[in-house]
């Protein structure tokens, strides 16, 4: 037993040193084989690195699951303008806490991944955009970066290779929408954190108007391992379409909530009952949100059939997202949970697009009224239809994220809404 909880089902590659404060020290990191991948990568051509990552099948860990190697290959081959690698460390999705842990426990792993990524896309500057509320995390990272500069792993002529890559740690000001890649770039540039219209895509016009690639922390943390061991090695874990390991952030009514690194395709029910030590107080499972609050919730039956990879989640009508598994037992009040999520989105909507600006807060208002016992059955129809008008009609997908929990909860837990509407009865107390 170590780091709050561990399980023998885990395959700890990225999270191997979670719980060990020594890993933050650059000497320990190097002693344990750190920055060897960087050395190897700098001796390779950028396109060769992209090929290795392509071969590994690594998919973006920020939520969308887009293949990382292919994303990198969109970058221009000739660096006629500066290229930028931007690391998205604005981890704000309710239920998600993996990037924070990756940075806190193993900051050099991320820095090494960033440097390799930058070399692969011919960038000489990396921006790591940290969530504004991550004070400790940002400090740990900044200190590690200082050490890495001092030892010559970052900056001019890295390890005598002739390559120069600088890294800047930038703290956001605390806005969920700045985790959206184009909103992040706007914020990085000092503008309002508002997503941009695509096209143009970041590989053409990104940060500061230059070709840019944006990768999640966990994605970049996997890179040193893939470069060191090869694409085939990575593919031994996970499934054909979703290779590799993934950090699962489990929260809610389980006995051992926490971060678990598991091969993709791991059964959700085994995660809950085995890895996490089963349901708290032996209560019955009611619902799971497997990918962070933006994805549709599933009921117990669907959860039992769910395999935790990108395809498996779609099969049961939800998404893997960033693998933030929120588990709810029979005591959970679904209407309240959904209302709280919608409140979050209403608070975090940037306000550009009308369906999101007006729709998120209107949805929250209706849910609040239903919660207070003043709802009507018509409200449910209004919610279903109105939230549908928020799907696919906006610049980014924040408003889609409201539709997902609202619609799925009304479909799957209509009884709970009706109990409130008809009899003023609340289910559960959580």
């Amino acid at each position: 037993m170590a780091y709050p909880y561990v399980s023998d089902k885990e395959v700890r590659i990225l999270s191997k040193h979670f719980g060990d404060p020594k890993q933050r020290q650059i000497d320990t990191y190097v002693e344990r084989g750190g920055y060897k991948s960087l050395e190897k990568a700098l001796a390779m051509g950028p396109d060769d690195i992209v090929e290795v990552v392509k071969a590994s099948g690594l998919r973006g860990r920020g939520g969308a699951g887009f293949p990382t190697g292919i994303k990198w290959s969109f970058m221009p081959k000739e660096a006629t303008k500066p290229h930028y690698l931007v690391c998205n460390a604005d981890e704000s999705e309710p239920g998600t806490f993996k990037d924070r842990e990756l940075i806190r426990w193993d900051p050099h792993q991320l820095i090494e991944g960033c440097l390799i990524g930058a070399h692969a896309i011919r960038a000489q500057h990396v921006y790591i955009y940290c969530r504004g509320e991550f004070f400790e995390t940002t400090q740990v990272l900044a200190r590690a970066l200082e050490d890495a500069y001092a030892k010559g792993y970052v900056g001019e002529n890295i390890l005598g290779s002739g390559h120069t890559i600088d890294v800047t740690v930038h703290a956001g000001a605390g806005a969920y929408i700045c985790g959206e890649e184009t909103g992040l770039m706007n914020s990085l540039e000092g503008r309002r954190g508002e997503p941009r219209i695509k096209p143009p895509f970041p590989a053409a016009v990104g940060a500061f108007g230059k070709p840019s690639t944006i990768n999640n922390v966990e994605t970049l943390c996997a890179i040193p391992h893939i470069v060191q061991n090869g694409g085939e090695w990575y593919r031994q874990y996970g499934t054909e379409k979703s290779p590799g390991t993934k950090l699962f952030c489990v929260s809610g009514h389980v006995n051992k909530p926490g971060n678990y690194e598991l091969p993709l395709g791991f059964p959700l029910i085994e995660l809950i009952e085995d890895v996490c030590g089963g349901m708290k107080d032996g209560n019955a499972l009611k619902a799971v949100i497997p990918g962070g609050s933006s994805v549709p919730l599933i009921n117990a039956e669907e959860a039992r059939a769910c395999k935790l990879d990108y395809e498996g989640c779609v099969e049961v009508g939800t998404m893997l997202g960033c693998a933030s598994v929120i588990v709810m037992d029979e005591t959970a009040d679904i209407v309240k949970q959904v209302r709280r999520m919608v409140d979050f989105y209403a608070h975090e909507s940037c306000g550009q697009c009308t369906p999101c600006r007006e729709g998120t807060s209107w949805t929250a208002q209706i849910l609040r009224r239903i919660e207070s016992g003043k709802g009507t059955e018509d409200d449910l129809d209004t919610l279903m239809e109105m939230t549908q008008n928020m799907v696919g009609t906006t610049i980014c997908v924040l408003s889609d994220s409201v539709a997902a929990p609202v619609q799925s909860s009304i479909e799957k837990f209509r009884d709970e809404y009706l109990a409130l509407i008809r009899r003023g009865e609340r289910v559960g107390a959580a």
Partner: protein, 528 residues
């Protein structure tokens, strides 16, 4: 490079890079929109212009999606309409629906779109968000509750005027347009345009506040007379009074914009202290109203043998007025005709549309006066320069210049002093004949702007009493002297000018139309 696509079943060919929204205009199909404005960048945030494109996974914003060969676009399909209906419902969730007391009512895009495509009744039962009202400074009041957050005003100030005085404060449903601290819009020169481009009643003009309902206003195309730029405008009139001036789109002159100085310059037209009848004066304070025929007959009688001619004209008189003034001076034996015009120290350029500026020369037709052969006189504040005119002992004709810097002795030695004006003047005390003329708002005609563009204007007001256009009066006098027919219309007066003045040769009044036409020689204002 041209691109051919299909919009609502019509094949359309437009230049590469055209947006779907603009391409749809070519078949007369307006795609509803708020945030898009052709004169500014497109944030594609109002989400009203979403159209269906065959093969696209989701609806695309017509304002930023550019055309592609073979594209099949539907702006009126069930999906496109359903989307607009949905978005319009969102707009009304927090809108106060205070149309009965809103100045925008009747010309409001929210009203129009909801009437056309919105739901019959709203579903929101929740309390509405309240922002209240704010004085943005300048001529602008902000009614936050009516705002649709299109950010046109913010973008106008930052991109077009390039003096970023407005911003969006807060986020999400708390987003609101605001000024920086207490700075507001005071001291900016183009802020009236944000009232024009606000698609709803969120930004309203203090000057126009609760003055008239939009549907009671008549719109007459005209030209701003506040400087030599010649901004195309509309006179908005009701009860024979100008209620406000609005810019009229003309990309060759003013785009969609006009300056605040021009916008404010109309009250003198409404003032009411007009000369309404021809007056015959005896030089001792006696003044008698007479009919036109006896007045002109007596004038011509007195003109005979009265000596050489000197004339002063306003450079805001029309080309036709000035042309016939020159003709009259010729027929009376010839002489100097001068004009005076005020010159500002600097131009005020609209940075985001740099061909538009409040020009240094503050008269509407200075270029026309130069081309017609008038000489500039006096100072840059339009005073002085009339010493030899004031004491002239022959024939003296004044057209339109109110001579505010001159005293009652002006013209007292003249053998014949004719004063054609819209308003009385102390300097007309010794005039033998005071003849009432119409303002540009009451007559037809043309001005020549600083770039040599001849532009037409139309009458939006009835003339007071017996006032007539100066070209008609002067034309009648010339006709009598030459025993020919005088011009019966402004068109005839202009076409005569096109025959007599080289710069205008080959031009025709009809061809000038509503867009204007450029004279055929280079123009530079004398004294510049």
């Amino acid at each position: 490079m041209a691109v051919t696509l299909t919009i609502d079943g019509h094949e359309v060919t437009v230049p590469k890079g055209t947006t779907i929204l603009e391409a749809a205009k070519t078949i007369g199909q307006e795609v509803p929109h708020y945030c898009y404005h052709p004169g500014m960048s497109s944030p594609a945030m109002c989400r009203l212009c979403l159209v269906e494109i065959e093969g696209a996974p989701k609806p695309m914003p017509g304002c930023v999606t550019t055309v592609m060969d073979g594209q099949v676009v539907h702006t009126q399909s069930d999906n496109a309409k359903a989307n607009r209906k949905g978005v319009l419902e969102f707009y009304l969730v927090n809108h106060p629906l205070d149309c009965p007391i809103c100045d925008m009512s009747g010309e409001c895009n929210l009203q129009d779109y909801v009437h056309a495509e919105g739901r019959d009744s709203g579903r929101s039962r929740e309390p509405k968000r309240v922002f209240g009202r704010d004085d943005f400074g300048g001529d602008v009041l902000f009614y936050g509750d009516r705002c649709v957050m299109c950010t046109r005003c913010v973008r106008f100030m930052s991109e077009v005027e390039q003096d970023a005085r407005l911003t969006v404060v807060d986020r999400g449903n708390r987003s609101v347009i605001d000024t920086f601290f207490e700075e507001g819009l005071d001291g900016t020169n183009w802020h009236g345009n944000i009232v024009d481009i606000c698609p709803v009643g969120a930004l309203v003009s203090k000057d126009f506040l609760h003055k008239a309902r939009a549907w009671d206003l008549d719109h007459t195309p005209s030209i701003c007379t506040s400087c030599s730029q010649g901004c195309n405008i509309d006179l908005h009139t009701r009860d024979n009074l100008i209620q406000r001036l609005k810019p009229r789109e003309n990309l060759d002159v003013n785009g969609w914009w006009m300056c605040d100085h021009g916008r404010e310059n109309y009250e003198w037209i409404n003032r009411g202290d007009r000369i309404e009848a021809p007056l015959v004066r005896d030089g001792n304070g006696g003044s008698q109203a007479v009919d036109w025929k006896p007045a002109l007959g007596a004038l011509l009688g007195k003109a005979e043998g009265a000596g050489s001619v000197k004339a002063v004209a306003s450079s805001s008189a029309s080309n036709e007025d000035l042309g016939l003034l020159r003709a009259l001076v010729e027929e009376l034996g010839g002489g100097d005709t001068v004009y005076r015009s005020a010159r500002a120290d600097d131009e005020i350029v609209l940075k985001g549309f740099p061909s538009l500026a409040r020009r240094k020369d503050l008269a509407a037709n200075t270029a026309g006066a130069d081309l017609i052969g008038l000489e500039r006189a006096g100072n840059d504040d339009a005073t002085g320069g009339l010493e030899s005119v004031a004491s002239h002992d022959g024939v003296l004709v004044v057209l339109g210049d109110a001579l505010e810097d001159q005293d009652a002795d002006f013209g007292k030695n003249a053998g014949l002093y004719v004063f054609l004006g819209s308003h009385e003047s102390e300097a007309a005390t010794h005039a033998h004949f005071v003849l009432p003329v119409t303002t540009f708002a009451e007559q037809e005609g043309t001005f020549t702007n600083v770039a040599g563009r001849v532009q037409r204007f139309w009458p939006g007001l009835d003339a007071p009493g017996m006032a007539r256009p100066a070209w008609l009066i002067l034309g009648a006098l010339v006709a009598e002297l030459t025993e020919t027919d005088g011009p019966r219309s402004a068109a005839e007066a202009f076409n005569a000018l096109a025959t007599g003045v080289p710069a205008f040769s080959g031009m025709s009044y009809d061809d000038i139309g509503t867009r204007g036409a450029v004279v055929n020689e280079p123009v530079s204002l004398s004294g510049d």
